[in-house]
């Protein structure tokens, strides 16, 4: 016989979760139904199915199928802007399926600077040609073209920006009235005893 104290120790009654049958799980396999559920709820369901191996396997299969369906939906969503880009630039962009996982095992190689557990395979993209850059380099900057610190490809842009900025923001171009000083300027004569900071 259960005493009230023993019931209190058990805590509040848990909600009974009936194990889902295979048909019910397959019916719920549409992306809209299962993918929209919170992950906590899915974990709770999996906890309840832990004793029934067959049901747990069914549930895992349904989850995997749902995930795949969601990815298909995402790819379909991506195809619309991709088509717009193709219209704009006149050549196709690489499809998502051409993105290859990194390495043979798909493992993260931190030493090679990979971010995440995948690395974009950009080998199929056309290589940037150096010919236009060489043409843009002026004869004045030819000697520095090999020095990356001289940022030769951007020099023209930088000085163009300077020229625009100096016109846009002049320091002060107004005329100032000039009059003689009433007092002699209080200049600071250099003290011979003061050492220089750097030698």
């Amino acid at each position: 016989m259960n005493s009230p104290s023993a019931e209190a120790q058990r805590g509040p009654p848990r909600a009974e979760v009936n194990p889902p049958s295979r048909q019910r799980l397959e019916h719920a396999a549409s992306p809209d139904s299962l993918a929209s559920l919170p992950s906590d709820l899915l974990t709770l369901v999996a906890d309840e199915l832990i004793d029934d191996t067959q049901c747990l396997a069914n549930f895992a299969a349904v989850c995997t199928r749902t995930l795949a369906a969601v990815r298909v939906a995402q790819r379909a969503t991506l195809s619309t802007p991709q088509a717009q880009v193709v219209r704009l630039i006149g050549r196709p962009m690489p499809s998502v399926s051409r993105v290859q996982p990194c390495g043979a095992e798909g493992k993260l190689d931190v030493a090679r600077g990979q971010v995440g557990n995948k690395r974009l395979n950009l080998g199929f993209l056309p290589r940037a040609s150096k010919t236009p850059v060489d043409k843009a380099v002026d004869t004045v900057d030819k000697a520095d073209a090999s020095d990356p610190q001289c940022i030769v490809p951007y020099l023209q842009d930088i000085y163009r920006h300077y020229r625009e900025a100096e016109v846009r923001r002049p320091a002060c171009r107004s005329t100032m009235h000039v009059h003689t000083l009433a007092h002699a300027p209080t200049r600071l004569p250099r003290s011979a005893s003061t050492p220089r900071r750097r030698t």
């Binding site: 004045v140 100096e166 320091a171 171009r173 000039v178």
Partner: protein
């Protein structure tokens, strides 16, 4: 600066002269001086300042410019020292805050130094980094630095001043003053734009050894190949310039 009630062009000259002296004293980068003068001008353009605060504005501008440009910026205590304790560290920091707020934190502005470096390179008078600079390049730098002090030179754009200084330096050294490359990179034509500015710089060069002489003294050192002793191109020669 026309809105300034207590400050005039002569006071600005004195301030810039002092800045040049202090800048040379601390052996700072040339960019720091140009930025400091630009900060002073842009601040005075916006805010009214009293005469006794002008030196504080200059010291704070150099303090800010050093923080912006130098690898080892000077501490505020150095500026307290160079102002002979006229201003406290707190006053400098307060002025820094005021200037930054007034300039809306827009510290960068194209100054003459970036252009003179470029035009000297285009003119073929710039030498490789870490090698002694050529006399003509130093002379061009000297001429540009002379213009920092003179308020009336603010009516010219920094690029115009630099093109004119390079032109005059080449002319003074007896070289071809204007090449198609210079015209292409500076976008200034010899005939159109340089006439008035070249004459003004030539005039400044002529009277550099009189009055405030910080720039003249600075460029009389061996380090600067004593270019301040180079005589300006004579007037007769200048009058023959075909603009």
């Amino acid at each position: 600066m026309s809105k300034q009630a207590e400050i005039d062009a002569e006071m600005r000259e004195v301030l810039v002269d002092w800045l040049v002296e202090i800048h040379d004293w601390f052996e700072l980068m040339p960019e720091t001086l140009y930025l400091a003068v630009s900060l002073v001008d842009r601040f005075l353009e916006k805010e009214q300042t009293t005469r006794n605060k002008l030196q504080l504005v200059g010291a704070t501008a150099l303090f800010m410019a050093a923080k912006y440009e130098e690898m080892r910026p000077l501490p505020a205590s150095d500026f307290v020292y160079i102002s002979r304790c006229t201003y406290t560290r707190e006053a400098i920091l307060r002025m820094e805050y005021l200037m930054l707020a007034s300039l809306n934190f827009q510290l960068t502005a194209p100054n003459a130094f970036v252009f003179v470096t470029r035009f000297a390179k285009v003119a073929g008078i710039a030498t490789a980094p870490r090698s002694p600079r050529s006399t003509t390049e130093l002379l061009a730098n000297y001429l540009v630095e002379l213009t920092l002090q003179d308020y009336k030179m603010l009516k010219y754009l920094p690029s115009t001043i630099c093109a004119s200084a390079v032109y005059l330096a080449l002319k003074t050294r007896g070289k071809t003053p204007w090449t198609p490359d210079l015209e292409k990179h500076s976008t200034y034509k010899e005939a159109d734009l340089l006439q008035a500015c070249v004459r003004d710089i030539h005039e400044l060069h002529g009277k550099a050894s009189t009055g405030l002489q910080a720039v003249h003294r600075k460029y009389s050192h061996e380090k600067y190949a004593n270019v301040s002793s180079i005589a300006p191109a004579d007037d007769f020669f200048l009058s023959l310039l075909v603009f």
